[in-house]
Amino acid sequence: MATLQSQDIVRRSATTFTPPAARHQIKVAKLIDVSKCIGCKACQAACLEWNNLREDVGVNVGQYQNPHDLTANSWTLMRFTEWVNPETDNLEWLIRKDGCMHCEDPGCLKACPSPGAIVQYSNGIVDFVSENCIGCGYCIKGCPFNIPRISKADSKAYKCTLCVDRVSVGQAPACAKSCPTQAIVFGTKEAMLEHAAGRVTDLKSRGYKNAGIYDPPGVGGTHVMYVLHHADKPQIYASLPNNPAISPIVGLWKGTVKYAGMAALGLMAVFGFMHHVVAGPNEVTEEDEENAKKLKDAAE
């Protein structure tokens, strides 16, 4: 969305220079209390409406979850899991609002090869800047939570912006604003951690001895956190990763492989030039033209 200015940017994808980040904003966070969530999907509706997104009317495939997965238009999604607690034999209906976690150490940003397509602001929000996106999909590979989606319409990646346009003018994200039970709350990261601690105490008093906060250290903590009744088992909440971390491939990619790749590219350029010198320019034959025309007609 990029409604914040360059002076708020602390990280920029595929860029060696450090942005000035002259304005230091306070770190923010959204807290999603899974134990208070009733799965009403008001957050999903608010997200579609605030961001003016057009999702397709789908079909029912045997579950409450609609759409069935995150899409380039659905940046948040209630994921419903029917889990039988082996300790009590009671059913628990675990409803988790899925979406971008806004990692302090964002894997998407690290993996992104396009300069300035992914930025992080000093308040912690990780944002996609569409005009710089080349649609390569590396952000998806870099994300430990499998969040970004590529749009079929414009081949660019999309995900939750944490309503950076609202946050930058002092408003809470649309999802938090719409949540009827205040299962979604928004504020400074510090305040959210404090609020979460109170919730954990309440849950423990109600018999959830493993209640806790999900703020995974493997990605440097997140600016979207959960309160979970069973914080010892994040994976029961529709495969929330136990210990998310940026894939080692991203590190490799941005380190050794990157330089090896650049060397390979250089060699290719040299080879191309030498080929041109030795063999002359490539000529397009009539047969090539014919095939191209057939392909074009078929496509139309």
Binding site: I38, G39, V59, N66, P67, T181
Partner: protein
């Protein structure tokens, strides 16, 4: 609600039974969250399905649909057996000590006086013993075997935990766990709130479901107190307003009743509405009935309502049947006895039972007028939509007029919420196209009819030509003008009897409260309980004060709460017999030695001595009723009756099918299925993603829940080889639907009376117009029978069969 939404935050225990607040009332449900956060309150959910409410509950117990009375009577029995009774409350504020007439008995599921041929009771024995002084006889020691308490004790003794398990399918340990949590609130410093909705009303014994919980709440001392009460969660933003204003065929505004044809004059009408106190010194507030009634007549017919014509009593229609409820209206239509139908803000083709019968009925009309902001199925009942509405338009001669109306966000007016708060609202948008307000449309209709009757006369044109129509622009009455009329105003000066130079009431002024209404024609009031909404001080509904002294959640300066801006009904019962609050941390009003005061408007007269005047001022007894005399058609105590379509025979009365006094029209009994042919117990319900049949017209909501489905257990899916997400056919004796199957752990088979009962859940939101995928209405399947007292259809419990199918037209 006896209490209000905000007050739920004051409770210790929330029981959601007969409703699904998180699912159907997500915004109000936030108060449950508040109670949990600030009071450490617990939430208990009792439902056939593990619902969205259950997802955030502290305890969940399953129950078979249509067996709530057995469960509730079981809890009452548990409380009595375990001495979990708020005795001071029960003795002082209920009719536990009243002696019931000799002759009243109960056996085999029936009370004294049943006449099977009429499907009705002679209720003459269902009453108190009255003394020579005209007052009810009481035994404060509760020793008399015929006192209400002992009769109740005997009545509920049948409902042991074992019997509850046998009828309801609720495992005994789960039932006892719930009963125990509820029973703890009999302590004076513990309170429970009951949140219920259509899960209790939509049964052939819906009124008795609610009575069952009301009785339990009285035994626990939870009525009239903060955080307690019987809280009906109303389904539309203004459905409370609908009943308040008397939009029922047998009511006039403020819960006054229309005369019957046996009441030919006002004296006959008033003879059964005098409400003489049945105990000494009681307020028996309905003694003021005539003041409210005459003021209503003055509001309707102005100068044409005079003392000489009994305030235009003859202008009122006289009922020849108990009520022309929607089921009766459609039955008459089906018989060809009703020619025209005005359908205003209502989509009966989806919201009333047995769609096939409804379609046949609408096809017999000469004309149908639909007022609606949306393209409803009812307006298009004649249009062929393939299997979703398989009709032949050429064979339907009904002329349909569709009048587009404004939506609530496009006009000004008031909405009355479940808390009885009447809140003013302003338009947020311009209406599209030719849409007009309902008021404007009604005004044009009235003025045209009035002109025709004036010109041509008729058998009895008086009620129409004399209708009081004082609006500044006759063809465009404004909402504020109507609000002022509902509030009431002074018609004639009323001098002060002590000082003739002064006036008690001044002609033309708005009245301040219903307390000043008179039965001599000097006041007019459209709806007595709404008196106070628009006074000389202005529009009270538009108030937005946020002060809340005592942090009670009452917010007395926010809008207006009927009656008299009272936030909690029967609030005198929040204090003991001497006027001292039961619980200091929940004090509401109290007696200071000379008068009542506190955080709410007292229910009783401010100087009424606490020992003398009972809190239940609307009852002639001054106390609440554990035994309800002859006021309900199906008995003074609730009895467990099976639904008309039930998977098992009634374990406590095997010979009784359904509610023995529920009205069944000719031809409909034959359309009830039995469990041999239709083995599964079905229930219908709402989903959070949709609001009735409106939001399927909205793109975003259609995205969130796009397609009609039914829910079944993994066990039934396995038995019938049904895949989750696959197509199924579901059919009852009345119709058949195709749907996607959602196979879930949230529905489990129950064992009732030794038999495995599978439950089929059917959400209601789809039809053949709108943005969502076309789908079938649940009312293709539901039976055409209603509650014995108020005729709410039995949507929550019926029988179906299910089979997998290959696919369906999409």
């Amino acid at each position: 609600m006896t209490n209000g939404w905000n007050d739920i935050k004051n409770t210790d225990l929330v029981v959601i039974m007969g409703g699904n607040a998180a699912e159907a009332h997500p915004c109000g449900f936030k108060w449950v969250t508040e109670a949990k956060a600030h009071r450490g309150a617990k939430l208990v959910v009792v439902d056939p399905r593990f619902t969205r409410s259950a997802a955030v509950a502290d305890y969940y117990a399953p129950i078979r649909q249509g067996t709530d009375i057995a469960f509730l009577m079981g809890v009452i029995n548990y409380c009595i057996q375990n001495e979990k009774v708020q005795w001071d409350y029960v003795k002082a504020f209920t009719n536990a000590s009243y002696i019931v007439k000799e002759g009243f008995e109960y056996s085999d599921g029936l009370f004294t006086g049943y006449d099977e041929s009429r499907r009705d009771y002679n209720r003459s024995t269902w009453d108190y013993e009255f003394g020579a002084d005209g007052f009810a006889v009481v035994d404060e020691t509760l020793q008399n075997p015929r006192c209400v308490w002992n009769l109740l004790k005997k009545h509920v003794a049948t409902y042991t935990p074992e019997m509850v398990e046998r009828i309801c399918g609720t495992p005994k340990d789960k039932f006892v766990a719930v009963a125990k949590m509820i029973a703890e609130t009999s302590a004076k410093d513990k309170v429970m709130t009951s949140m219920y909705a259509l899960g209790w009303t939509q049964h052939s014994k819906g009124s008795q479901n609610i009575r069952g919980m009301a009785m339990l709440q009285l035994i626990l001392g939870n009525i009239g107190v903060r955080g307690g009460g019987m809280n009906a969660l109303r389904g539309h933003s203004n459905i409370q307003g609908l009943t308040d204003i008397g939009l029922m065929s047998n009511l006039i505004p403020g819960y006054l009743t229309l005369p019957t044809e046996r009441e030919a004059d006002i004296n006959a009408y008033m003879s059964t509405r005098g409400f003489r106190p049945q105990r000494p010194g009681q307020m028996s507030f309905w003694q003021n009935y005539k003041k409210f009634f005459v003021s209503f007549q003055k509001s309707m017919w102005g100068a044409a309502a005079t003392k000489d014509n009994d305030f235009a009593y003859d202008y009122l229609p006289k009922l020849d049947v108990p009520a022309y409820d929607v089921l009766r209206a459609f039955d008459l239509m089906h018989q060809g006895k009703m020619n025209g139908y005005f359908c205003q803000g209502f989509n009966p083709l989806l919201s009333f039972p047995n769609k096939r019968k409804l379609t046949a009925a609408l096809s017999k009309l000469k004309f149908l007028v639909v007022f609606d902001p949306l393209e409803t199925e009812t307006a298009r009942f004649w249009e062929n939509h393939g299997e979703f509405n398989d009709v032949n338009p050429a064979s339907i001669q009904t002329e349909v007029f569709q009048l587009p109306t404004t939506c609530f966000a496009e006009d000004e007016g008031s909405l009355t919420n479940s808390s009885r708060w009447i809140q003013w609202h302003w338009p947020a948008a311009e209406p599209p196209g030719e849409a007009k307000t309902d008021i404007w449309i009604m005004a044009q209709l009235h003025l045209k009819l009035k002109a025709m009757y004036r010109k041509d006369g008729g058998k009895f044109p008086d009620p129409i030509v004399n209708l009081h129509w004082p609006y500044r622009l006759p063809n465009d009455p404004q909402p504020e003008e109507i609000a002022r009329e509902l509030n009431g105003y002074v018609v004639e000066n009323v001098p002060d009897p002590n000082d003739a130079t002064k006036l008690v009431l001044e002609r033309g002024k708005q009245i301040p409260t219903f307390g000043v209404l008179r039965d001599d024609g000097s006041t007019a009031c459209g709806c007595w309980i709404y008196a106070g909404i628009y006074t000389e001080a202005g529009n009270m509904m538009a108030r937005r004060g946020t002060a809340d002294p005592g942090d009670t959640g009452a917010y007395s300066q926010w809008a207006f709460s009927w009656p008299a801006n009272r936030r909690i009904l029967y609030n005198r019962a929040s204090a003991d017999i001497n006027g001292k609050p039961w619980d200091e941390s929940r004090k509401l009003i109290w007696w200071n030695g000379t008068n009542w005061g506190g955080f709410d408007i007292p229910d009783i007269a401010p100087t009424a001595k606490p020992q003398d005047v009972g809190p239940f001022i609307m009852n002639p007894e001054g106390v609440s009723r554990l035994f309800t005399r002859g006021m309900m058609r199906d008995g003074p105590f609730p009895v467990h009756y099976e639904p008309f379509e039930s998977p098992i025979a009634n374990p406590i009365a095997p010979k009784v099918r359904g509610n023995p006094v529920a009205r069944v029209f000719r031809g409909d009994m034959e359309q009830f299925g039995d469990s041999k042919e239709f083995p599964y117990a079905a229930t219908s319900y709402r989903l959070t993603e949709h609001f009735h049949f409106w939001t399927k017209h909205v793109w975003v909501n259609a995205v969130l829940q796009p397609e009609f489905f039914v829910e079944i257990s993994e066990e039934l899916a396995k038995e019938k080889k049904i895949a989750s997400g696959g197509w199924v056919r579901v059919w009852s004796k009345r119709g058949s639907v195709k749907a996607k199957a959602v196979v879930t752990k949230r529905i489990r088979p129950l064992v009732c009376d030794g038999k495995t009962v599978h439950i089929v859940g059917i959400p209601i939101h789809w039809g053949f117009t709108g943005a969502a995928k076309k789908g079938f209405g649940a009312n293709m399947l539901t039976p055409f029978v209603g509650d014995a007292n108020i005729e709410t259809p039995e949507y929550k419990a019926f029988l179906v069969d299910v089979e997998p199918i290959a696919g369906a037209q999409v």
